[in-house]
Symmetry: D2
Subunit: 203 residues, 4 copies
């Protein structure tokens, strides 16, 4: 697990949605997942986008190919999620968010990694920052991710429903994914208060 | 994993529900889960029954305390399921279905096992057969279980939704349990064709 | 891992051999392993004793059949040690040291356990104390074991060379066993200062 | 585990030392380990060589940083071996034998890998072949390694004592390493017939 040293405030807001008690109404409103800023898509016939995938649940695994926690836990879980659910309901995306050792984890290396680790789901290369002093790529910055591995779940309507740095237990993740997949409410019917994914889960 | 040598035909019928193609209509009809025949309940203030638990999803882990596969895989998973979900939605029951080494796995030994393995969910002792020649206890016989460990899932309406001998992967189980928990259809509205739990799962 | 609450002083003496600094000379002298006090031997054609096995390295796994740490770690390791080395050089003994739940772990239950866990090496039932108030069996008391699982290594000359409560890592254990097996010094030649098994190991 | 497609005959000779029955005398003769052909040493103050290390047991882990079996099994074991034994007796060397995805596993990437996987033992980069058509680096070719991960054990006298492609069990490896460390016979006293490392091990 690779943690960045500073977690900007905007990330904390995402992570703790529903816990900011400034106004009750605010906390209940979900945040629409910002679009991915992708330099290049691998493992897919055509470029994807969150917008194009609207209507499906999306599980995004942010990883770095040289991050031990990603290699040991997240990539195998992502493969298992990809193999276990119907792509009409759930899309798995790997997001290569390189924030260190940039030279060692360039596209050529990533392609070899994808080949060796038998990754079959789409992998997006996060766009590097245009600012020379900023090692953090754009989508990682936008989502204010705390490091790698990070797991992001987006519902059928495009709302951000879960952000977690580190590994999620398979049992809980399976339950959360199914809960999101079972939500088929059309846009018009979203209630003011949308209940979170994992509410049936104690952990 | 302890397999009995003979799997009676009635069990096969339960296991393959929806796959017997004699008539399409028949296969779609779910089987109501037969009541448990319990000699004694442990780890619970009052005796339970499937009938009393109607309205909740029920996960039954049939096990033997000296079955290595049960000890290594099923009991830890059952503990995790018990710890992860709201008891208003999901009940975990251990069912001690002793079909061998009966003397070694009597009530005193089971109580020590429950203590040592920190089992907090209710455990039912399956009632031994009244027939001297039959080592298989009554509920195990009724459900025609193929051995231990066996996992049984029952929906909120009391229908048998899954029977599996051996270990179920956490990711898939989490998804199946959540799918069952999300079914809140009142009795009157059950359609003729009830779709199975795991349909969104490819595996 | 099951710890007894009180570790009698004599055990501490065994555990810390070489660290008692009363006299340097004393600390270098090894303790002859006390004979096992066995109620009954299982899995062996004839009764064994440390004396009979003199000339071989002996690995004793003290366990309880309902001790989770024993079942998960020690028994599998003991099976692996038994399968990996030549019985002319190394003998593996399981010692059933029941100090709790006595009724649940009697001989019948132990036999079922041995069968189910495919234990092929000799298993000795430690003799219960004659004192009603003492739950700890005789060999466990003599060796002042701290609980289960416990691992005891005895060298070819009958000296106690290692006592450890809990699990030993395979790599280190393999090295220690081989070091003991490579000691072929005849009785007469034992130097005053016998160097310990694990001296080449840093951990 | 990454296997090369062709295993040249000379490798087979190394692997099956003692089993070639052309002449009994021949089979007993050990092969002196060929010197490593290293492009660059990392993680070490000065360049090493087998010759310089004469007198110590040497464990060489041939690996590729993008080989899943190496990352999951060999690197953690190598770290554990390095941490467990006295460097006066045993030296651990990582040998980066890149035979595929050469561009993705260049020195910069390897350094990032060494940092991320907390490798503290010396790592040698195997020298690439001068022949354009040959993807296999020089030491890998000389030893006729079958792929990665590969484990090579060299005794205090510089003889090749073990070659294994794939993972070796910790228990057996610990025993083999200790057997080699216990060999302190001076050069002059090597008997015509040197018995192999693992003879006490059945597996």
């Amino acid at each position: 697990m690779k943690a960045l040293f500073k977690v900007p405030s905007s990330l904390l807001k995402i992570k703790t949605q529903g816990q900011d008690e400034s106004t009750k109404a605010m906390t209940q409103k979900l945040i629409e997942a910002p679009e991915l800023e992708v330099q290049k898509w691998l493992n897919t016939k055509e470029d994807l986008s969150l917008k194009k995938l609207r209507g499906k649940v999306i599980a995004i695994y942010a990883f770095q190919m040289l991050c031990p926690g990603c290699v040991e836990h997240s990539i195998p879980q992502a493969r298992n999620v990809f193999a276990s659910f119907n792509p009409d309901d759930l899309i798995v995306i790997g997001l290569h968010t390189v924030f260190e050792h940039h030279q060692a984890m360039a596209e050529t290396a990533l392609k070899a990694f994808i080949h060796e680790y038998k990754i079959k789901f789409p992998v997006a290369i996060d766009t590097p920052s245009e600012k020379d002093y900023d090692p953090i790529p754009k989508t990682m910055r936008t989502y204010n991710m705390a490091g790698t591995p990070s797991l992001i779940l987006i519902d059928r309507l495009g709302f951000l429903r879960k952000y977690k740095m580190g590994h999620e237990h398979d049992l809980k993740l399976g339950a959360e994914l199914m809960a999101l997949m079972k939500e088929k409410t059309p846009m018009a019917k979203i209630p003011e208060e949308i209940k979170g994914t994992a509410q049936t889960c104690k952990i």
